[in-house]
């Protein structure tokens, strides 16, 4: 340590290279707590050998890095949308609903439209909304129940059962045209017809969750194929109050308690209601489904008793999943472009929890 008086002189003399500093380092060494005369590397892990030979008692172990992540698991994974599907199936089964046989993508115009009292010149039957099949193009006329077909034809053309009908010329070839089904309501119609043929009417609760096809313009939220969820209850003297009641029960199991209903239009239900729920995150009412009571023109020609009403509701599987998971592009959820990391990271589906 130089006193301040010599500093200026030091600097001068150093500049003239007459002196150069020599640094001497010295250490004072004392024994620490871990002092040992043998060199030992700390172990990373406790091994089987150490247990066997007891050497674990004399070894030191490295600090474990608790801040790092654990090892990734090698596992198989189920697809997120199908996890949600499983939840919806469970809800229906819990409510005593029976699954309809929907493993039939190709339908004909008769069961997809005509049996539902949807007229033949309706926009939904257009080539730009429906996928028509070129091969096999038509269902053979003999495959339809002939007297039921006649009743459907008459109801469309002239009415009956209290209806004025549509006043047009119904053509069987339109009914024969094969299409990719646009809704699973085609299957509901088949089931209701079967039920109507039984000697005694028994009330039913039925559901389905399966693919439907629309030939529409595609965008971020619309694909040509998606999954439709449908619930149907047929019993004597059902009314809108029952429909509202069962919707509250169903959606409560999805954690949704606040519902609002809006008048809507479907060709085959009257009254029809759009179902809205309050989305706490978006702070607004969002449409979550469609519902209604099937028209008498659809049910009576099947042969169902006049006091039997059929209430039904439907929603898509993809939309609530996208809203819940914050996915904006449907192609991130279904199709080959899905990121498999997303599939693998997808949590347990708890539809009733926010």
């Amino acid at each position: 340590v130089l006193s301040s008086g010599i500093n200026a002189e030091y600097g001068d003399v150093k500049k003239r290279k007459l002196i150069s500093p020599v640094v001497t380092k010295f250490y004072k060494v004392t024994k620490g707590p871990g002092f040992s005369t043998t060199i030992q590397r700390p172990e990373a892990d406790l091994t089987a050998e150490m247990l066997q030979d007891g050497s674990w008692k004399s070894k030191t172990f490295k600090d474990y890095n608790f801040a790092a992540r654990g090892a990734p698991m090698t596992s198989g994974y189920l697809h997120p949308l199908l996890k949600v599907r499983a939840e919806y199936r469970r809800i229906f089964l819990d409510m005593g609903f029976s699954e309809m046989p929907t493993a039939q993508f190709v339908e004909n115009g008769f069961w997809n439209f005509d049996a539902l009292f949807q007229p033949q010149q309706h926009p939904a039957r257009d080539a730009h909304d429906t996928f028509f099949i070129s091969d096999p193009a038509l269902t053979k006329e003999a495959k339809f129940p002939s007297d039921y077909l006649e009743r459907v034809k008459t109801t469309h053309e002239k009415g009956g059962y209290g209806s004025t009908g549509y006043d047009y010329d119904w053509k069987v070839v339109e009914a024969q045209k094969n299409i990719l089904r646009t809704h699973t309501t085609a299957v509901s119609a088949r089931m209701l017809y079967k039920i109507a043929q039984q000697p005694e009417f028994k009330p039913v609760k039925m559901f389905s969750i399966d693919r439907v096809f629309r030939n529409e313009t595609l965008d971020a939220t619309h694909l040509a194929e998606f999954h439709q969820i449908e619930g149907v209850v047929a019993d004597r003297n059902l009314n809108l109050g029952h429909l509202i009641g069962i919707l509250h029960t169903f959606f409560k199991k999805l954690g949704i308690e606040k519902l609002k209903f809006k008048p809507a239009y479907n060709p085959y239900t009257e009254p029809s209601m759009e179902i809205f729920s309050y989305h706490e995150g978006l702070k607004k009412w969002v449409e979550i489904g469609n519902s209604g009571i099937f028209r008498p023109e659809m049910l009576l020609p099947m042969g169902l008793p006049a006091d039997v009403n059929v209430i039904a509701w439907g929603l898509s599987l993809e939309r609530p999943t996208m809203i819940k998971c914050g996915i904006n592009n449907i192609r991130e959820l279904i199709g080959p472009k899905v990121n498999l990391n997303m599939v693998q990271d997808f949590p347990i589906c708890r539809v009733n929890k926010a």
């Binding site: 029976s98 993508f105 190709v106 091969d135 008048p263 009571i293 279904i334």
Partner: protein, 561 residues
């Protein structure tokens, strides 16, 4: 769902109230329409409102505001009257092969403003688009009656014989010349409705002046201007019911501007089947029991008088007599076909959200479809074996299931789509492989090995089903890594069979060109082939843009259900 554009301020003026956007949305909600968008065009605020597809009476601001005013008790339902008119329209049989139906009406002593004139045009556009199915089913022509002279003729003539000055054109043209010109314009899509037919429909007056060439274009001569007082409306169609609905809609909407509001004049339409007065503008009455009307809606506590009041609010003027209600269904409510339509309107007027909820007292036992139950169990097994599930599209290109998989025969058994918008929708898949291979290709960055599976339906043509086609539930698995993993998918097959309690299976070398030579096998259940497995041929990998070896397994689940 049709959307109409209305000027906000015009609408609010007609409603007699200025709403906030939120309040108006609420009003729309209860009424069953939706305010879809608010836009500004040339500094004028316009509402885009979604209208139910069966309510033709709400497709213009006149009808919409009238219905909302009646709903809000600001207005009484107007009574529409048809006054016998002197005009006559003769329908010649020649039109039966091209556009058989024609009706007409006269709106006498109208007063157009620019706003109402635009609304008049817009309504015709909407009706053309929707119920008219882009004019193919119904089209409308409106004319200045003072420029033409009856009786009018509706007939079909050879195209070259048709010669007139079309609307907004400077010269007279024949129909073929017009068509050539219109091919470059917005009229192009409508030409094919009649092009190629031997005779084209035409409406002319007593002096041979052409009113219109339906459904293409009107004549310049009779065009409507802001000064037009008397309007001649003709509607031609291929559907008689829609023809009536359209002319009733135009008359009921715009007769409010006649000097005697809500009155229109009839035209006598003569054809070989007789003589009728049009527009029909018919009134029907429905006699209903008041209590019965309430049952569908689950409504309680309404007297027959209240039921009648509620229905009147919905533009269905009604009167209660004892326990009965007489409902009047006018020419604006062509959507009412059955009592259930009236029941819905009653429930709407009562308010869906005022209905008391009841839970159906119905005990039933739930049940699953066996195929779905088994599929879910198998999916769990495959996931436990370390495979990741994919969910891919049922529709794909022809190549995807045939040439890309080196399987020329696949198309013979595939269901083909008639109207695909792109080649991605040409066929319904007969194999789950294209989907799983595309997924592997898109997920190149995943750590190896990649193990994927899907359990889903494919569709085959089938002689013994109603539609001629049949779904088949299949399992498909893929292994992709630095090595082919054949023994892994083979092991997976053994695991699947163990889960299905199946021991009567075997594999035998296969000749399929989809597999690498000597590395493909059929899966046999007893003696029947139910699937195959193997290492994919390098050409298949190239077709799907995969650069690593892949082994696949695909089999039907149906025999085990």
């Amino acid at each position: 769902m049709p959307t109409i554009s209305v000027t906000r301020d015009v609408l609010y003026e007609r409603l007699g109230k200025t709403f906030t956007d939120e309040d108006f949305e609420d009003e729309c909600f209860d009424f069953g329409i939706e305010l879809d968008d608010i836009v500004e065009e040339n500094n004028v605020v316009k509402f885009k409102i979604d209208i139910p597809a069966n309510r033709y009476d709400l497709l213009c601001v006149e009808g919409l505001s009238r219905a909302m005013n009646v709903f809000r008790d600001r207005m009484i339902v107007p009574k529409f009257t048809v006054v016998p008119g002197k005009e006559k329209l003769i329908v010649d049989d020649s039109v039966s092969g091209v556009r058989p139906y024609c009706v007409a009406a006269v709106l006498r002593d109208m007063k157009f403003t620019e706003e109402s004139y635009n609304s008049f045009i817009l309504l015709q556009d909407k009706l053309h688009q929707n119920i008219g199915r882009e004019r193919s089913l119904v089209s409308i022509g409106t004319h200045d009656l003072d420029t033409i002279q009856g009786p009018f003729t509706y007939q079909a003539l050879a195209p070259e014989q048709i010669k007139f000055q079309p609307l907004n054109q400077d010269s007279v043209m024949t129909a073929p010349e017009m068509f050539e010109k219109f091919r470059q314009t917005y009229l192009k899509p409508y030409l094919q409705i009649i092009e190629g037919k031997p005779l084209y429909p035409l409406i002319t007056d007593a002096n041979g002046v052409v009113l219109s060439l339906p459904p293409i274009i009107n004549g310049e001569h009779s065009k409507i201007t802001l000064d037009t007082k008397n309007v001649f409306i003709e509607v031609t169609a291929c559907d008689r019911a829609k023809c009536r609905i359209v002319i009733d809609t135009i008359c009921s909407m715009f007769s409010e501007y006649c000097s005697t509001p809500f009155t229109c004049e009839s035209v006598t339409v003569e054809s070989s089947s007789g003589s009728v007065q049009t527009p029909p503008m018919k009134y029907q009455t429905m006699e209903c029991n008041a209590a019965q009307l309430c049952t569908k809606g689950g409504i309680t506590g309404l007297t027959p008088d209240s039921v009648a009041d509620h229905l009147t609010k919905m533009f269905l003027p009604s009167k209660a007599v004892g326990e009965q209600v007489t409902v009047e269904i006018g020419p604006t409510r062509h959507d009412v076909l059955h009592q259930c339509d009236v029941e819905e309107d009653l429930a709407i007027a009562y308010g869906y959200n005022n209905i008391t909820e009841q839970v159906p007292n119905l005990n039933t036992i739930g049940a699953e479809q066996e195929c779905n139950k088994l599929s879910d169990a198998i999916r769990e097994e495959l996931a436990r074996a370390g495979f990741t599930e994919v969910l891919t599209f049922s529709l794909c290109s022809r190549d995807d299931i045939s040439t890309s998989l080196r399987n020329g025969k696949a198309l013979e058994e595939a269901v083909q789509i008639a109207n695909p918008k792109s080649n991605e929708f040409q066929v319904v898949r007969t194999s789950l492989l294209p989907g799983i291979l595309k997924t592997a290709s898109c997920n190149r960055k995943m750590p190896l090995p990649l193990k994927l599976f899907e359990v889903s339906d494919v569709v085959f043509k089938s002689e013994d089903t109603e539609t001629g086609s049949k779904n088949q539930r299949k399992i498909c698995a893929l292994f992709s890594g630095k090595t082919s993993g054949f023994e892994v998918v083979h092991g997976l097959l053994d695991r699947i069979m163990l889960s299905l309690s199946e021991t009567n299976y075997s594999i035998r070398a296969s000749e399929e060109s989809m597999f690498f030579t000597g590395r493909g096998a059929d899966i046999l259940l007893g003696t029947e082939k139910i699937g195959h497995l193997g290492i994919l041929h390098p050409e298949v990998l190239e077709n799907f843009e995969i650069s690593l070896p892949c082994s696949v397994l695909e089999m039907s689940l149906e025999p085990f259900v």
